[in-house]
Each structure stands twice: as C-alpha cells, then as structure tokens.
C-alpha cells in the first residue's frame, strides 16, 4: 500500500473530520441538559424553603406561600398510578416471559411497544371521556388512571426482559422438587427478578411523575388541599405549566422552585436506578 499517497492523506483527513463531528454532535446534545440543570438550579433554589412543602399558594400580590398541595397531589397521583399500573403490568410481563411464543403474545408485545409511543395527551382525552365524563368531575382517580395507562407498557416490557434473564436452571431445580409450574414462576423466577423489576418500575415512576399533558383534563388543578381522590388535585407538573404561562413574577419564582423539586426527584430516581443496576451486576 502506498501510505504516502494523496488518497491516503485524504482518507485520513475525512476520517478525522467525521470523528470530530461525531464528538461535536455529542457535546452539542449535552449543552441543553447542562443549561436546563443550571437554570432550574439557579432560579429554583431561592424558592425552596419549608413553606414550599407545607403552605398553600398565596393569591397574586402576596409574597410567600408554597406548593404543599401540589407536592402531596403529585405523590397521590403517582401512588394511584403505581396501584393501578404495576400489578397488571407485572402479570402481563410474566405472561410474555413464560408463554411468549404464541401469536397472541407477539401481538401483546407489539401493542405494548406501540402503546408506549402513543402521545400522552391522547391518553388524557381517553380517560377524560372514560372517567371524568362518567363521574362528572375531575379527580385524582382519573389522573392516576391516566398515568397508570402510561406506566403499563413500560412495566410489562421491563418485567418480561428481566424474567428472561433469570437462569432456567433455577426453574428446573424448583420443578424437580415437585413444585407446580405457576409456583415456580412466582416464587422462584419472579422473586429472583424482582430487584431488577423494581429498578424498572422506578424508572417508569420517574417518567410519569413529570407528566403534565394527561393530567390537564383528568386531575385538573386545585388551589387548595384535596380532601379525597375524587376531587380535582394539584400536581407539581401542572402547576409549573400554569405558573410559567401566568404573567406574575412571584408565580414564575414558584414555577422554578417546583421545577427544581420535580427535576431533582426525577434525576435522583434515574441515577439511583442506574447505580442499583451497576452494583447488582458487579455482585454477580
């Protein structure tokens, strides 16, 4: 090969240019992440105090106040979503992992993947006509159901993937002891996969905790404490939206504070999920 030729030099020049642009692209993509983190931290930190977590929002013009109702509301909504979304998701995932070769199972898997790409606002519309129109009012229940629908495909696919990672020898050992198949699946396979599934569930919780669009016309919003799950309920995400588009300086400050709380929660869930996965892999 003629290493000194012009072709050789040109090829290596192109190689460098392309590799450089790939690195550049990666850096460019991370700039918004850094910028978002910076803005939310700097503008939000001032609004975080004890009042933020315990007080109700103050009317326009009055300083102070907090978003205690929205913090509790988000927790309620996510709790309800877990209640409605996790058990069916895990059972569906168990089905896919155990009996996953039928045409029906392939269709379920495909539907779950397609469903995770459905816009969250259309899920809001669906739950609106299903629950809100039936019960005649906005409620935390409706919001929780909307979030649960978003969680379902994620939990299903995570459960399936993690169950498939459990060594078959464990099942064979259990079956060899005369345990029926269903108990072997639940007590041996699922139990072994459970820590991993928990991490997957954490990630799906992180995703729905920040969802706003499906809550706009299900849980709606509330300036006060909600006394039950059948009442309109405030959430951090909807309040960030409502405050951000309002013309009031004080409300903007609250929006940044709420964004900081939400973002820290979501990032914490993501980072700890990542950390848990890594320590588990190392332990093996």
């Amino acid at each position: 090969m003629n290493l000194g030729s012009a072709t050789y030099a040109r090829r290596h020049f192109i190689d460098r240019v392309v590799r450089g642009s790939c690195v550049l692209g990666t850096v460019v993509a991370l700039v918004p992440l850094a910028s978002v983190l910076y803005y939310v931290l700097v503008r939000g930190i001032g609004g975080i105090d004890l009042d933020f977590f315990t007080e109700l929002p103050k009317p326009v013009g009055e300083a102070g106040g907090g978003m205690g109702n929205a913090v509790v509301g988000t927790l309620t909504l996510v709790g309800l979503a877990c209640l409605f979304g996790i058990p069916p998701g895990i059972l569906a995932g168990v089905y896919l992992a155990e009996f996953g070769h039928s045409r029906f199972a392939r269709l379920v898997r495909f539907s779950a993947d397609v469903m995770s790409g459905v816009p969250s606002i259309t899920v809001g519309l669906f739950v609106y006509s299903l629950v809100v129109l039936t019960t005649k009012h906005f409620s935390a229940l409706a919001g929780g159901i909307a979030l649960a629908i978003l969680m379902l495909p994620m939990v299903t696919r995570t459960t399936e993937e993690l169950l498939k990672l459990v060594p078959e020898s464990l099942r064979e050992a259990a079956l060899g002891l005369g345990v029926p198949k269903w108990r072997a699946t639940l007590r041996v396979m699922l139990r072994t996969a459970l820590p991993g599934i928990a991490v997957g569930v954490m990630l799906s919780v992180a995703r729905v905790a920040g969802e706003t669009a499906p809550l706009l016309f299900t849980a709606f919003n509330n300036r006060f404490w909600s006394s039950g799950v059948d009442e309109p309920t405030a959430s951090l995400s909807v309040n960030i939206y409502a405050n951000a588009v309002s013309p009031y300086e004080d409300w903007h400050r609250q929006a940044w504070a709420a964004a900081l709380v939400l973002l820290l929660t979501v990032l914490l869930l993501n980072v700890s999920a990542r950390f848990l996965v890594r320590t588990r892999v190392r332990a093996r």
Partner: protein, 328 residues
C-alpha cells in the same frame, strides 16, 4: 409433592397438557389464563382508546368530513372547525426537529457505539439518556425563560442577517414560534433516536467490521461500508420513532410555539400544533361540536402516531433478524 386434582374432571386433554407432556396442573392452567387476561388488557386498551376517540369525534366528522383537515378556519364562536393550521404546525415543527436531531443523534450513536473509549461509553450514554428524563414541562419552562430570549436576542438577528433572503428567516423576531418549538422538540427526541440507533448499530455483526478493518479501512470507512448499510432500515426506524415522539409532544412545545393558528413560511412566526390546541382549549371548550372537533384532532394524532410506531418497530426489528452479512 403437591396433590394434583383429577384433571380429567376439568377438561379432556388440552393443547396445554400436550405441550407440557404431562397432565397440566389446574393451578398452572388458571395461572396461564389469568396472566393472559392482563396481557390481553394491553391490546384491549389500545383498541378501546381508538374506539373511544372515534366515538367522541363522530359529531365533528359527520359535520365537516374530510374538510376538517383541509380547512384553515378554526372559529369556536361560529362553530367552524378546520384543523389545517394545527396539522401544518405539527408537521413542520416535527420536521425542523428531525432536521436538527437526526444528524446529532447519528453522531452520538456512531460515537458511542464505534468511537468512544469503552470507559466513556456508559457515562456519556447515561447523560444522553438523562435528556429524556427531564420532564417536558421543565423543558417548556426553560424554553420560555432561557431559550426564547436567547433566540430573540442572538440567533434570530444572526439568521435574519445571513440567511434573510430565504422566506424561512423573515418577519418579526419574538423568540417564541416555530423555530423555538422545533429546537425544543429536537432536544427531546435526540435521546430516543440516538439510543435506538445505538442499539441497532450494536446488532451489526462484528465480523463485518473486522472484514472492513482487515481491508485497511479507516474507522469512518468501517462505519460507512460495514455498519451503516447493515443498520440502515433500523436507523430509518429510529428516526420514525423520534418523529412519532415529536408529533405527540405537548407541553414543551405548547409553551414556546406561540399558539397562533396561522400558516406562515417563516420559522420566526408563531404557530400552533395539534397537541397544543387540545391542551389549551379542551377544558374550556363549550358546546358538543367544539369538544368533538378537539377529539377528532386527538384521534388524528393518535392514528398517525400509532401507524408511525408500527412502521418504525417493524423496521427496527428487521435489523435484529438479519442473517450475518445480509443485504437489505
């Protein structure tokens, strides 16, 4: 040993029993049925959503027919509903987003799967995925108070000065508008496109790369002749998945796109998307036809994203199934 109920009482030999090669436990049968029920609920939900929205939009469809998507007249006061401005805003903002996000995402995917030092791959991949973890509404907040002012004061004057001869970069510079919407969307779909592309590239058999290396290819040439052709359909799939996300994205774009139902060639002009009009007007909509029209917008959005997703998944799955050295 568990006591086995007399299966012959429950059912004569079923397919299941034959598959197990022994008499099936009644518990096993129940277990399979129950889990199948929940698995089936995923399909049921998807179909139900389509039906429910179809039902809700019946009134509007009966009234406007196909004119619903070709008319630009959206006027709740006169009860006239045409969704073309929203369709336009959704499609154009998503295309702007793809224009920005696809090259960057491909760069990330190539960097992470082919170029980066193995120790850097995990942390950088994680950071890129964090972009997807930031809630949409937080991007919206950032878009209002950080991105839009920056666009107004720095980017838009610069674009108008250098590329102002094009119709895309003319008109008043508000910051808010199509450009801001497209940029926010591009940030949000970059992690989707790049992570799927990376998975697809990872599925390319090592033998192909080794072959190219053995012929003296540079690293870029390896990517060009071995990785990209093999991964092509998966990369198209990744792009379509990103498009699907962009079309349905609601909060962030609602907060920065300006929300005005106009069709303008300029990217500086405010626009409106299908998801945004639902978010903004649904709770305040009075009148059955108005609600029905909004539901029809939702149905359109749902149908388009479902079709795109089906198409994209098929493309991505195809790469995993290719035989080694297979041609597309």
């Amino acid at each position: 040993m568990t006591a086995r109920p007399d299966v012959s009482l429950a059912r004569p030999r079923s397919k299941l029993q034959l598959a197990f090669g022994r008499e099936a436990n009644l518990g096993d049968l129940a277990f399979r049925r129950i889990t199948a029920l929940f698995a089936g609920s995923v399909i049921v939900l998807l179909v139900w959503m389509a039906l429910e929205m179809g039902l809700a939009s019946k009134l509007s469809f009966a009234r406007f027919g196909l004119g619903f998507v070709t008319s630009t007249d959206w006027d709740p006061v006169r009860d006239q509903y045409g969704s073309l401005p929203f369709v336009f805003g959704t499609v154009v903002s998503s295309l702007v987003a793809l224009l920005i996000a696809v090259p960057i995402s491909l760069g990330i995917a190539i960097y992470l799967s082919e170029l980066a030092h193995p120790r850097l791959r995990t942390p950088i991949g994680f950071l890129v995925e964090l972009l997807a973890a930031v809630p949409s509404v937080v991007y919206g907040l950032w878009g209002i108070f950080a991105l839009a002012p920056w666009l107004r004061e720095t980017v838009q004057p610069l674009l108008a000065k250098t590329l102002g001869f094009l119709p895309f970069f003319r008109g008043p510079q508000h910051g808010f508008g199509m450009l801001a919407g497209g940029i926010v969307l591009s940030i949000m779909i970059t992690p989707t496109i790049s992570s799927v592309s990376r998975e697809v590239m990872r599925a390319v058999p090592a033998a192909l790369r080794e072959g190219a290396i053995g012929l003296g290819a540079t690293r870029w040439e390896v990517v060009r002749v071995a990785v990209l052709p093999y991964a092509r359909s998966g990369l198209v799939g990744a792009t379509i998945l990103g498009l699907g996300r962009a079309l349905g994205e609601t909060m962030a774009i609602t907060m920065v796109i300006g929300n005005r139902a106009e069709i303008s060639a300029s990217l500086f002009a405010p626009s409106y998307t299908m998801a945004s009009v639902i978010a903004n007007e649904f709770t305040e909509a009075t009148g059955r036809l108005y609600l029905s029209a909004l539901a029809e917008v939702g149905l359109l959005l749902f149908a388009v994203t479902v079709v795109l997703n089906i198409f994209a998944r098929l493309l991505v799955w195809r790469v995993g199934k290719l035989p080694e050295g297979g041609q597309l």
